[in-house]
């Protein structure tokens, strides 16, 4: 395929579509990236909430248990994990 070295310039209305298309592609890429990061952030927030619940559960168990138990190995672990200890 032989390409013309100096192709005639497109009229502005036609060229504008191509230019707008190219810049919109860039914008779309950034937006998709930000959207993906937003989803990850939501997941992160959910994990953080779970962690908070886990901590509350641990504190509640520590408060209920006799003083000697709380300091032992496996303190704060969920029941299954504590049984293993």
């Amino acid at each position: 395929m032989t390409l013309p070295l100096a192709a005639p310039a497109l009229p502005l209305d036609e060229a504008g579509d191509y230019v707008a298309g190219a810049y919109l592609v860039f914008l779309a890429l950034i937006l998709v990236y930000v959207a993906i990061m937003a989803v990850k952030l939501q997941r992160f927030e959910r994990d953080l909430t779970d962690l908070g619940a886990l901590l509350d559960e641990r504190d509640a168990r520590a408060a209920d248990a006799p003083a000697g138990d709380a300091a032992g190995p496996g303190a704060g672990a969920p029941p299954a994990a504590r049984e293993a200890v």
Binding site: M1, A22, Y33, F44, L48, A81
Partner: protein, 249 residues
Amino acid sequence: MYGKGLRALSIATVATLVGAFALVFFYAPNDADQGFVQKIFYLHVPMAIVALCGFVAGGVFAVGHLRTGDRRWDLRSYVAIHLSLVLAVGVLVTGSIWARASWGHWWVWDEPVLVSFLVVFLLYACYQPLRFSIEDPERQARYASVFAIVAGAFVPMNFVAVRLAEQFTHPRVLGTTGGSMPGSMRLVFLVALLGMTLLFVTLWKFEMAHKHATFQLRALRRRLSGEDDLFPAGRSAAPRLDRPAVGDR
């Protein structure tokens, strides 16, 4: 750690990019040959340069990993390559649009710059599947680093291809003689290049901060649940700093 200075960097990135695009449309003159279509140049070329530099940076970070054995270098390499791939998609699409507007074809197979960039893109498209195919994180990091270094060394060939190309249908941007750009176009191009570089660095830091925070969160969860062997199920292409090698578990 990586979140430090991210706010200022983000503001600088947005300001520079908006400024660059304003200069493109309100300051830079129309090209004598191509007319208004040449405005794509200020987006396409900086994006291509930053993407290729990002691939090389991935290789440099990978050298750091192989030298030190520290998997944080692997994470840096992974994020740099990941972001460069995103930019490379943009380069291919905007390049196609520009080719269609200038040459009347979406893609030209006998144009060395286009094809060599596609080869680089396809090469790096194998990076994630390669990582995903290896379950042991230590081996995954090592193999991925070797890949990143070899592929990173291949990238400069893309620049050499521009110089060796006999057809001059693809414009030269930066030459030893200063190219054929007038001063105003060169200024706008450099501002756009700076903006694109800042965008890359900002997104890189953003993703690194996110990944570090995720690892810390997982470690905390493990400590709280009292289970040392609690790792996310399944394999992943992304590095996991909180996950020991299979032999160490």
